[in-house]
Amino acid sequence: MLSKTQIAQRIAKEIKNGQYINLGIGIPTLVANHIPDHLQVVLQSENGLLGIGPFPKSDNTDPDLVNAGKETITMVKGSSLFDSAEAFAMIRGGHIDIAILGALEVSENGDISNWKISSGLIKGVGGALDLVASEAKLFVAMHHCHKDGSSKLLKDCKLPITGVKCVHKIFTDLGVFSILPEGGFKLLERAPGVMLDEIRSKTEGKLVIKGEIPEMESFDLG
């Protein structure tokens, strides 16, 4: 089973040179720490920045410089600042290559539910609806199950849906999955030490296992 950091590390391996990427709140934010230095990629913050840098040193926080999670950040060289309409023009207009989001549920046909809900009340929709409706390749980063043990990989989403047929790949603590065009979670990789039976038992939606499923390449577990 992967830690949140390891899920982020695994997703980072998907990133290619020259890509513009939007990272959602939670595990996706951690991906930034694991993008190899030799890759030229740019991280977008949908409040209005291209070129998110590392978190600042404690003596260098700037209240006028926050990411979409309202966390203090820095800017890398070559950044640009803009307003929120321009930020979403980039997203809606297909200029962002990859969006990495957390989710509460994903369905076997690629629907996603990721609205913030607390005691039955939807507390926010944020920028996710625009991201999932864009042409960006959508990666989902999440735990395979809820805290009560129930699966997040479902036949149909039970929570309000954020977007339909939009998820490209799912990265959980148990493995990596793609969504098949005809529906179904296709298992691509197992997390180190995780057995197929565990994935089967924890996946409520249709799971497709074809041939030998490789174990994830081991990586720094730090």
Binding site: T61, K70, E71, D83, G124, V125, G126
Partner: protein, 231 residues
């Protein structure tokens, strides 16, 4: 140039009345009109409609207006940081309309730009699309969204000049420029107010035409919502 100066936040906001529809700039607590909000909480306003990306926190930003029960309706994309909101909403005292962040931004931009309606893909398949016209263009589905305009826009910039030209700083820009254009009366507060002609015309983010009143705020707390640092 037209001189847009007013003395302070109280004067700038004095004609905001019960039932007014307000656009409030900022993202979280970043780039919010601190002085105008402070001026409002000293008055006994009722039934405001507040349109802002967030609802502040319980003791800062729009949260202060909520606490004083001045708000009847909130239009936002995310209100998860505010406990007071939940209390009033559950008690049925507060109306809430959640709008996807990009759609919120574009609807406000449309309001300022005289575009009464536009099609967007955001929300297709979700509850957001309920009751809205859906149409196919070039093989994809889009839904029709309307412009948003308001009686007043309360915005915050870094520098401004007496002609109302504004420059923002960092990500404190966010919704402020869009809202500036969508307010019937736009009230801009700045950290530094300079004479017209001192700002480079090529660096201006919000042209003065969108601003009806401008003043320099006295103190800016600029509270940080989530201080996150690296080792």
């Amino acid at each position: 140039m037209i001189d847009k100066r007013v003395a302070n936040a109280s004067e700038a906001t004095s004609d905001i009345a019960d039932g007014a529809v307000l656009l409030l700039g900022g993202f979280g607590l970043c780039g919010i009109p601190e002085a105008s909000i402070q001026a409002l909480i000293h008055r006994h306003l009722k039934n405001l409609t507040c349109i802002s990306n967030n609802a502040g926190v319980d003791d800062f930003g729009i949260g202060l207006l909520l606490k004083k029960r001045m708000i009847r309706k909130l239009i936002a994309s995310y209100v998860g940081e505010n406990e007071e909101f939940e209390k009033q909403y559950t008690a049925g005292e507060l109306e809430l309309e959640l709008i996807p962040q990009g759609t919120l931004a574009e609807r406000i931009r449309a309001g300022g730009a005289g575009i009464p309606a536009f099609f967007t893909p955001a929300g297709i398949g979700s509850d957001v699309a309920k009751g809205k016209e859906i149409r196919e263009f070039d093989g994809r589905l889009y839904l029709l969204e309307r412009w948003i305009k308001a009686d007043f826009a309360l915005i915050k910039a870094w520098k401004g000049d007496t002609a109302g030209n504004l420059i923002y700083r960092g990500t404190a820009r966010n919704f402020n420029p869009l809202m500036a254009a969508a307010g019937k009366i736009t009230i801009a507060e700045v950290e530094e107010l300079v004479p017209a002609g001192e700002l480079d015309p090529n660096h201006i983010h919000t042209p003065g035409i969108y601003v009806q009143r401008i003043f320099q705020g006295e103190i800016y707390e600029k509270r940080i919502e989530n201080v996150t640092v690296s080792a």
